[in-house]
Structures are given as structure tokens and as C-alpha cells.
């Protein structure tokens, strides 16, 4: 019964020598164009784009875990707000709109970096990675200014559940963004090195995906703070 289950398509020869393996898996520091994306199916044991796909899949899966973290904070916030009459809404510091603009802009610069990578342009790639990381740091600086503005108004972490959630959500997001900046630093350092080509592509693709996710996540958090006061 089980023998016929999901019969494998045997288009690949039974034995394959290393010479038949796609190039670039080992060594190969040259900056070459990305091979065409495979069209479904299982092509070989070490296709280059497989590594890229793997890292992107890792980020997608990781998003699931991160989303659950913020979903838990969201539900705690909504429940806590309805619990007792001690919820004191406050107006958000305007600098948050600046930080939002900065973060959205950084998503575009990351895309630009990705494009430079695909066009085999390492110097431009490093430049746009730099710009993105700086925008990321600028975003974090704006978030800190937001904290400063609030504490200037006498609103601290423990002042009120509303402010507690404000500080926690922004801090939680900021911590994840620091991870993104670290990944950009890794790309910046390694893009000239002798890393095999597919892992470089994988690093850039995965980081770009993660960065866009943090962008969307921040807009969600901002919406939550704005409309669920």
C-alpha cells in the first residue's frame, strides 16, 4: 500500500557526481548574477536558490513566533483596559510620526540594496545597506525621543497601564529592530569577503524580508496605540 504512495518522479539520475552539482556552493567568491529561480519541484541536492529559499522560509516561520509575542501583548492590553477604570489615555508624542516615516523610507532603501545585489553591484549594495542601517538607528533615536517626551510630561512606565503598554510595545519592537540592524552589519562586513555566493544572497533576501516585516509590525503597533487608547 505504502509503496505507491506519492510516487517520486525519477527525473534525476540515480547517481550524480560533484561535478554535476550546481556551481557556487563551495568557494566561488565571484559576484555573479543570480541563477534563475527554479520552477517548483525538487531539482537537485544543492541548488543555490534552495539556500535562499531556506533562509527566507526561516524568516517567515520566525515571524509566526514574533507575531504571537505581540498578539499576546495586544490581547493583554485590550483585556487590561477593560478590567478596571484606571486606564488613562494620553496623546502620543508627535515624534512617532517622524519615526514612522523614517522606517517606511528604510524599507525602500533596503529594496534598493536588494536590487543592487541582483545587479551584481557590491559597492552600491554596501552603500544602501549603510543607508538602511542609519535609517534604522534614526528610527530608534526617534523612539527614544518619544520616551523622553513622555517622561517629560511625567508619564513613566509604571504611571498607568496605558503608558506601561506604550513603553513595552515600543521597547519590544525596538529590540527586534536592533536584530535587523545587526543583520545589516553582518551583510556589510561579509559582502566583500569570501562567503559563498548563495549565502550572501540569502542573507540579503532574508534581512530585507525581516525588515519589511518590522516595518509593517510598527505600523500595526502605532495603529494599536492610536486607536485603542
Amino acid at each position: 500500500m505504502a509503496t505507491s504512495q506519492g510516487a517520486a518522479t525519477s527525473t534525476v539520475p540515480a547517481t550524480l557526481t560533484p561535478a554535476d552539482a550546481p556551481p557556487g556552493i563551495e568557494g566561488g567568491g565571484d559576484f555573479v548574477t543570480l541563477p534563475p529561480v527554479r520552477e517548483g519541484g525538487w531539482e537537485g541536492p544543492s541548488g543555490e536558490d534552495r539556500i535562499v529559499q531556506r533562509y527566507k522560509l526561516g524568516v517567515w516561520v520566525g515571524m509566526g513566533g514574533i507575531l504571537m509575542f505581540f498578539a499576546a501583548l495586544t490581547s493583554a492590553m485590550i483585556v487590561r483596559q477593560g478590567l478596571s477604570g484606571d486606564w488613562l489615555p494620553f496623546s502620543l508624542p508627535p515624534v512617532l510620526y517622524v519615526s514612522t516615516a523614517v522606517l517606511v523610507l528604510s524599507s525602500f532603501t533596503i529594496e534598493r540594496a536588494r536590487k543592487e545585489l541582483l545587479q551584481s553591484n557590491p559597492d552600491a549594495l554596501r552603500r544602501w545597506v549603510n543607508v538602511s542601517a542609519c535609517l534604522g538607528l534614526a528610527f530608534l533615536a526617534c523612539q527614544l525621543l518619544g520616551w523622553q517626551a513622555l517622561s517629560g510630561r511625567g508619564i513613566y512606565l509604571a504611571s498607568n497601564p496605558a503608558s506601561s503598554f506604550y513603553y513595552l510595545l515600543t521597547a519590544g519592537h525596538g529590540a527586534h529592530l536592533l536584530g535587523g540592524i545587526a543583520a545589516l552589519g553582518y551583510i556589510w562586513a561579509r559582502v566583500r569577503g569570501s562567503r559563498p555566493w548563495p549565502t550572501r544572497v540569502a542573507a540579503v533576501e532574508a534581512t530585507a524580508l525581516y525588515w519589511h516585516f518590522l516595518d509593517v509590525l510598527w505600523i500595526y503597533i502605532l495603529g494599536l496605540l492610536l486607536f485603542w487608547r
Binding site: M1, A2, T3, S4, Q5, G6, A8, V12, P13, A14, T15, L16, T17, P18, A21, I25, E26, W42, P45, S46, R50, Q53, R54, L57, G58, V61, G62, G64, G65, I66, L67, M68, F69, F70, A71, A72, L73, S75, A76, V79, R80, L83, S84, G85, D86, L157, A158, P161, S164, L168, G172
Partner: protein, 606 residues
Amino acid sequence: MTEVQVSPEVAGYTEVHRHPEPKSFIWKYIFSVDHKVIGIQYLLLAVVAVFVGMALSLLVRLRLIWPNESLPLLGDLFPVGAPGGVMTPEFYLAMLTMHGTVMVFMVLTTAPQGGFGNYFLPIQIGAADMAFPRLNMLSFWATFVSFMLLMAAFFVEGGAPMSGWTGYPPLSAVPEATVQGIGQDLWIASIAVFCIASLLAALNFIVTTLDLRAKGLTMMRLPLTCWTWFVTAILALLAFGVLLAAGVLLLMDRNAGTSFFVPGGLVVSDRQIDHSGGSPILWQHLFWFFGHPEVYIAILPGMGVTSHILSTFARKTVFGYKAMVYAVLAIGLLGFVVWGHHMFVSGMSPYSAFVFAILTMCIGVPSAIKTFNWIGTLWGGKIRFTSPMLYSIGFVSLFVTGGLSGIFLGQPTVDLYFHDTYFVVAHFHLIMGVAAIFGMFAGMTFWFPKMFGRMMDEGLSKIHFWTTFVGVYAIFGPMHYLGMLPHPRRYAEMSDVDYLLTTGAEGLQQFITVAAVLTILVQFLFLYNFVRGIFAGKECREENPWEATTLEWAVPSPPPHDNFAGKVPHVYRGAYDFSLQGAKRDFAMQCNDDKAVYGDQPGSGD
């Protein structure tokens, strides 16, 4: 690089090595990125943790029957918790808390998934390693740090926390509520680090299963072990993030003056606590949203191992493979919508309780499917009573016994009576604790020859199986009766509770303690067998001593650094092809094509 001969069973093709074999001790055995080394590291961590956990349970049992006696050594070890060798009630609660925390997190969550899963998932799917080897190493070492943080709680001022493994506020959130100081903070920090480690590991398991399967290994050809590791990883990914968030909130409540979980107007020791408006129930919801999936994180890998071993030693294909897969998925899905059944006594709306009760009953369906399929697998099989087989049959027995009492507790009306009694202790120990541990015993004895190239002693294993099997029933069986009395759980003593003394509860408690001491002693037999097996067990260089079908049995014992010596195996069939008609042997390995199985007879395949 050393030349490794791989069995001709693996008809695959060559892949370039992914990472070279490390030479130095530190990179080979300590900071290794090899999934097999990391798997063994997880297993060793769990072995240390399980003996710590058992020692704690021993103290709990001794305190229950000798509340006022002075015990030797204890006074010297814990001058505050047990002055003069007499355990204080607070000390009892601290031991109870740490026993639960160590066992649930450091044993039940690490060994089945981090240990066996790490070692065998890549080999069973024909991969050279996990998808992200360095992330894998990070997961283990974060888990190790988490364990150290937890152990440190014993040695700080005020001692270990005593708010239970569930960390219920306000006991856990208000330092004034207990004598504990930093112990509770260490507990929260330990759990938070553990969450991060588990999230990273879950990510790795999911990507590995989806992306690294060998050619021909479709999802519906996966061994059931891989299916359960995969679903367990999904549960962990979605559950641990929630616990992490809850832990952060709790830490803020303790240390930053916020009020998420601490209600207003709380008075502790005649002093008003400076918090307002929070709710302990909020913590319960967040905790159990994690906590219930956690139960399945502990038990699902055991189910996979049991299915795998029952089929192998009954020489029959798993009865209803697809049904088994769908049952695992259904259990995983339903596991996220039943958390409220842990909170029936929290004052929740009867309508919510009703919904949670109905959903809880629903889990009985996939659980029953699994149980009947296990029996169906055994039915008419040519059973080989090896020690892994015995442990697996023991698993089925314990799963049924523990599961049946779950049907009682899933009813809100019945649970109101049982909730704070020993009935619950009996239920969750049998199903989540002991059944899962039997899954680990089964896995250990089954895979031992593959991991170490030696055998554990079958005779000792069988003695261990029978004594432990009888022992755990002797411990937890009577607790059902205690619960019906009803004997409250978590109480440090019952000296002045008249109705308990007149109903034989005292005698039963003494019996349970004796049974527990004996059962704990028997575990040293297993430890001896395990350690002796590694260094002096009967050598077993054979690739496939059990005549099993999955890919790990097609590589040398122990497997080489990158498992298939640079090859990628082909998979031609499902994972449980036993007793095929017309086949040359009574089993067909997953990497055998029809020609290898049937010879050249035409038309014998399919």
C-alpha cells in the same frame, strides 16, 4: 577527511559537504554545530535535570509523611528552609515549584524534542544536518543558561520561588507576598531565556522538516516521529512567544511597579500593596494559552516514538498512517483552544466554561484514534518483546489511564470538586509526566545502538521497565482515591485535617511515599545501564539491529559527521513497510527501490 563507508542501502547521489568535521575538543563536543552532538547535549542536560527533579519530589514526599521529623543532612544543606532538618511549609512549596518547573521545562520539553528530535530528525529525512546548525547550537546553550539560572534560584537569599510551576500572581508578582526575593526573578528570567531558546529551536525544526527532506520523501511518507517533532515545533513556535510576553509583564510587575496582574487593594501582612487594577486571571489566561500546548509539546514526540516502535516490533505497518497524521494535526490545533479548562475554578463565566469543556471533549476523538490505531498496529502482529517495545506498550497504557481521568476533569461541574485535589496530580503526572518519560525510555533503548554503537543491557532494561511500570501506578493510582476524599493538593501537611485521618489518607500517603522512594531507586538502575552502555555495552556496529525501515538505520552506528557521507539518499516508499508479500525480507527500508525489495520478479511490486 576520513572515508566513511555508507551502506549500499543508501542509493543516493553525492552532495558537497556542508561544514567540515571539527577536530578540536571544544568545537567537536562543546560548541558543536553537529545536530547529533547537540542532541546528546540536550539528552545529558535532561538526565541531570531529571535527577534534580526526582530529588525534589523525594523531599516533597518525605515532608508529606514526616512533617515534623528531623531528616539527616537536610539541616546542613538548607539551614533556612529546613532548620534542624525539619522542612518548613515554605520550603515544601519551593521544592514543589522547582520540581514542576525543572520537570516540565528542562526534562519534558528538552529531551523528546531537543534530544531525540535533534539527533534523529535530520537523519530520518536524509539530511546532513539541521537547516541552521549555528542557530541550533545557540538554542542548546541558551537552554543551558536557562537551566543554570533556574538552579541559581536555590542559592540566593530567600531561596527558590514558591508560587508553583504556573507562577500564579499575586504570589509571584508581589515580593512581599512570600519570603522570596530574587529567587522568583531568577525563575522568570530562566523561563524567558528558555522561551527564546525554544522559539529558535522550533524555527529550526520547522524549516528542516519542510526544506531538507530527501528526494522522494513526501510529507505523507515521513516517519511518524518526524511528524510529531514537526507539529511539536509548530506548537512551540506559537506558544512560547506568548509565555515570553507574559513573563516580561510579570517581571515588570515585580520590579518596575506596573500593575498588569496585581489587583488593587491587595493587603499583604497588614500592609496595602502599592498596585492597582490588574488581574491575576489575565496571567492565568496568558499562561495557560502557553501551558496547554506545552502539554502536547511534552507528549506528542512520545506518541511518535510509540507509533514508530510498535510498528517496528509488531512487524506491521502502522495501522491507519494517514489517520495518525491527521490525529496529530488535530491534537495540535485543538490544543490551542482548550486552555480555559485549567481555569474552571477561576470564576469564569459558565458559558465560557461550557465552550471550553466541549472543545476539551473534542480532543478525546483524535486521542482515541491514536489509541485504537496503536492497538490495531499490535493486533495480529509478530510481536518482538524487546525493551523499547515494552516501554512503548507502557506508554499506551499510561496514556489511556491518564487520558480517562482527563475526561472527568474536562467537565466544569466535576472539576470544581476535583480541581485542587490529588486527582489532578494523578491525572497530569500519568499523562504528561510518566507517559512522556516512558516515551523517552522507549526512544533511548531503541536508538541507543545507533547513537553509541553499543547496546544497553536488555535484561536490566526489562527489570527497569517492570519495576517502574508497577511503581508509577503504585504512586499515582492511589492519588485518584485521595482526590475523591477530597485530599487537597499543594498542602504541606494534613495533621489536623480530621476527615482525612479517618479515611485512610495518611496510610495511603505513606504507601505512596514508599512506592516513590523505591521507584526513584530503580531509576539509578536505568542510569547505570545507560552509562555502562555507553562505555562497556555489548558492541553493536551493525547498521540495523532492529530490522527497522527508516533512514537512520541505513547509516553506520554511530553515524558519521554528516550522516550520509556526502550522499543524499533516495526514498522510494513509506516509513512502515513490514511483512510485504513477495518481498525478499520481512521489511523494506525507505531507501530500497522495488528491485531491492522484490528482486526481479515482475509485477510483484506496488
